[in-house]
Symmetry: C2
Subunit: 107 residues, 2 copies
C-alpha cells in the first residue's frame, strides 16, 4: 500500500545533522532501553528510531564511518541528530572536536 511504502522509503533515507558523544560520566548507568551504558560499545542515542536499529554514521569532515546500535534516547540539543558512545566517536575522529556534521544511514 502506498502509505506504508512511503513510510518505509522515508525510514531508509539518509539523515544529516550534528553528532555529539557521551562517555565516562554515564558509564554503567541505565540507558533508556534499560541496558547499562558502556562507553566502549558501539551504541548511540537517537530521538525516535526503535531500540536495536543499526545505523551507519559517517563523519562528513573526514569520511570515516562507524555502525552503531540505538539503545538510548537523545540528543537534547538543537540541530543534533545522534549522540554516540565515546568509542564510536573515537572511531570517526570526533572526540577532540566534541561534535561533527554526520550522515546517518539506517541499515
Amino acid at each position: 500500500p502506498m502509505v506504508a511504502d512511503q513510510a518505509f522509503a522515508g525510514a531508509k533515507k539518509a539523515r544529516a545533522g550534528n553528532a555529539s558523544y557521551y562517555g565516562a560520566r554515564f558509564h554503567g548507568r541505565r540507558t533508556a532501553n534499560g541496558e547499562r551504558f558502556n562507553m566502549n560499545a558501539m551504541t548511540a542515542a537517537h530521538k525516535s528510531l526503535p531500540f536495536g536499529t543499526k545505523v551507519r554514521v559517517t563523519n562528513r569532515r573526514n569520511g570515516k564511518s562507524v555502525v552503531v546500535r540505538i539503545n538510548d534516547r537523545g540528543p537534547y540539543a538543537h540541530g543534533r541528530v545522534i549522540d554516540l558512545s565515546k568509542a564510536a566517536a573515537a572511531r570517526i575522529g570526533m572526540v577532540r572536536s566534541g561534535t561533527a556534521p554526520v550522515k546517518i544511514d539506517i541499515l
Copy 2:
C-alpha cells in the same frame, strides 16, 4: 567554638577520588544552579559543595591542576567525586582517558 572550627577544618581538607567530564552533549543545557552549561568554561559538578565554590582539581597521574567553579550537581557513578567541563578536563589531560584520579582542594 570547637564544633564550628572542626567543620571549617573539614571543609578545607583535600578530598580524593575519580573525576570524569562532560561536554558537547550538554552544551547550552541548564545546570543544577540554572546557568547554561558551557563546555568551554572552567566549571564542574559536585554532589554537595555550595554553588560558586572554587576548587583546585589536580590530576594525580600527571600533577596538572585547574581551578573550577561548582555550578552543577553530580557525579552519579560510584567512587566519582567530580565531573569537570570538557575544557577543564583538557587542561589536566584527561579527555582521552575519560577519567582520572584527582585531588580536590577547596579554595
